[in-house]
Point group: C2
Chain length 209, copies 2
């Protein structure tokens, strides 16, 4: 893989445009103009716009992994605290971008899953990987609560949580408000994770994040 600063610049410029406008609606000429890069250079780094899109996805997934490491997969914290930290970080980011951009992976999945099998497959892998990391955290919640739930049900609940969070992110974009995100966290902690032995260890709003 050819790698240098110009390649990375192109990826970042492309990502910022694509997360706002969508992949199809973002022309290569916009990306080149914004990055100040001639067309020939683009094709030195990327074979095609699809190749470029996949590089953006991989770059985003790598960066996102650091957020997951610091929150959901941070073994220094209790599993309920890890969950809460993950959601609070997501809410902060949505506030920072004024609920405009949502999640790049969710946006591209919505736009491209039916159109491009390479994109769909890569996005599916990334979401599956996130679900696996969430399942470990949920399994730790069960373990702490001594609830008798097993790894299989932790995986099911992890998938439910991540899908729900994607949906709440979309609803936040549509309402330009954090309310759907806060409502999701509230219901998740009170109605879904409210198990004997674990409910009282939920961090309150004021201590989380």
């Amino acid at each position: 893989m050819k790698s240098n600063r110009k390649r990375q610049d192109l990826i970042h410029v492309g990502r910022d445009l694509i997360v706002r406008q969508g992949f199809n609606a973002t022309g290569l000429s916009d990306i080149l103009a914004t990055a100040g890069v001639p067309k020939g250079s683009f094709y030195y780094y990327f074979e095609s716009k699809d190749d470029f899109g996949l590089a953006i996805i991989d770059d985003f997934a790598n960066e996102y992994q650091r957020k997951l490491d610091a929150t959901i997969s941070n073994q220094q914290r209790s599993p309920l605290h890890r969950l809460r930290q993950y959601f609070e970080l997501g809410i902060q980011e949505m506030e920072a971008n004024q609920y405009e951009t949502g999640c790049l992976i969710g946006n591209l999945a919505q736009e491209l899953a039916a159109q491009n099998e390479n994109f769909r497959d890569r996005l599916d892998q990334i979401l599956h990987d996130w679900e696996t990391q969430f399942a470990t955290c949920v399994a730790d919640v069960y373990k702490d609560a001594d609830s008798g739930d097993d790894r299989r049900s932790a995986t099911e609940l992890a998938k439910f949580i991540l899908a729900g969070w994607q949906g709440a992110t979309l609803r936040a974009k549509t309402s330009r408000s954090p309310a759907p995100l806060r409502n999701f966290v509230h219901i998740l902690f009170t109605h879904v994770l409210n198990r004997p032995g674990s409910a009282q260890s939920i961090p309150t709003e004021s201590t989380a994040g």
Copy 2:
């Protein structure tokens, strides 16, 4: 509002293309060619592509309301049965389109919420309207279960359910599989709605839909 068969044809052709390709990526020329309508006729019925998009949204919302009337808002059935019927119908529709199209409202919200305030506002109204209808059903679940939960918490739970279902729909598109939808329904009925007095009235997979 000018209304006749040609206008309705344009709306249906546009909807089929836009739900698959997205609004921005669907050119007016594609729509005109597919519908066999000259450009002049298009502008007789619609002021602009945006005006056309809003008409497609309204048409979809009207059609969707009939599905809600037959499921979630069908007072002839128990509230848990209504919920189950709604989800089973959604799964059947996703299966029929091979998990390619998802929900038009969710797709357009993802694509256009940050770009176009008229679209965002209309989509937000529609989702809010659906949430209100779900809240009535959830309030009926609480009433049947005599759980002491009030209308406010029914509204919160309804929003959580609809956002989660949108997220599960997106995940089904990305995995080309009904598994995220079935997992959502399973967790919803077992972990979220599993309340004293209501759990046993949940229809089983084989009797629902």
